[in-house]
């Protein structure tokens, strides 16, 4: 596709529910990143994939957060037993190569609200 596509755009989850957020990167983009943007804050790094390999997951806030990219294209961010503090916009970004040399293209995000 022309851009990074994320679905759903909005998700309301009851506390304790599991959610799955999807990211379709730009076709051919090797690198894929997930960021969490809390209200009034800048995005914070969660995890990074190069193809199907998860090279950095240092930003995942707890073991309730899990990300995968099994075929090196679409990625899913899963949050188990959601808590209110998980409420945020989850941004996905992709780039043709690793690193910041060519910058990222960001998706519009998924706004998760945990009630």
């Amino acid at each position: 596709g022309a851009g990074v596509s994320q679905s759903p755009r909005y998700k309301v989850a009851k506390r304790g529910q599991d959610v799955a957020l999807r990211c379709d990167p730009i076709s051919g983009h090797v690198s894929l990143f997930w960021y969490q943007q809390a209200l009034g804050q800048g995005p914070e790094f969660l995890t990074y994939f190069q193809n199907e390999a998860q090279l950095d997951k240092s930003g995942l806030p707890s073991d309730r957060f899990f990300a995968e990219r099994p075929e090196g294209s679409v990625s899913t961010l899963k949050i188990q037993r959601t808590q209110q503090e998980d409420s945020a916009v989850y941004l996905c970004a992709s780039s043709l190569a690793g690193g910041g040399i060519d910058g990222y293209t960001f998706g519009s995000g998924t706004r998760l609200t945990v009630v």
Binding site: V4, Y35, Q41, P43, L91, G103, Y104, G107
Partner: protein, 111 residues
């Protein structure tokens, strides 16, 4: 710890006047520096980046940014603001496949 600071939560400027949005960074090594803009319910849109070379970088929509290594700053500027520039602006430093974002500055351009 790596960090990027945007000291102003909000900047107000009249249309036609010059604008500056400030950014300083505390990131080890020589990070790449970026500015992104975010409109409501939209993703981050790339404005410009600094990697190396000339300290004045020109980007999209007439924006430019000035890199100052000694002050570890990367301020965003535009000579003449437009009402349509009103949005949320994020400064970021990239190092080792990771972006460090500032907390954002809301730019309000009044007609």
């Amino acid at each position: 710890a790596q960090s990027v600071a945007q000291p102003e939560d909000q900047v107000n400027v009249a249309e036609g006047n010059p604008l500056t949005v400030k950014c300083t960074y505390s990131v080890s090594g020589n990070p790449y520096l970026f500015w992104y803009v975010q409109y409501p319910n939209r993703g981050l849109q790339f404005l410009l980046k600094y990697i190396t070379g000339d300290n004045l970088v020109k980007g999209s929509y007439g924006f430019e940014a000035e890199f100052n290594k000694s002050q570890t700053s990367f301020h965003l500027k535009k000579p003449s603001a437009l009402v349509s520039d009103s949005a949320l602006y994020f400064c970021a430093a990239a190092l080792l496949n990771k972006f460090y974002f500032g907390s954002g500055t809301k730019l309000n351009v009044k007609p």
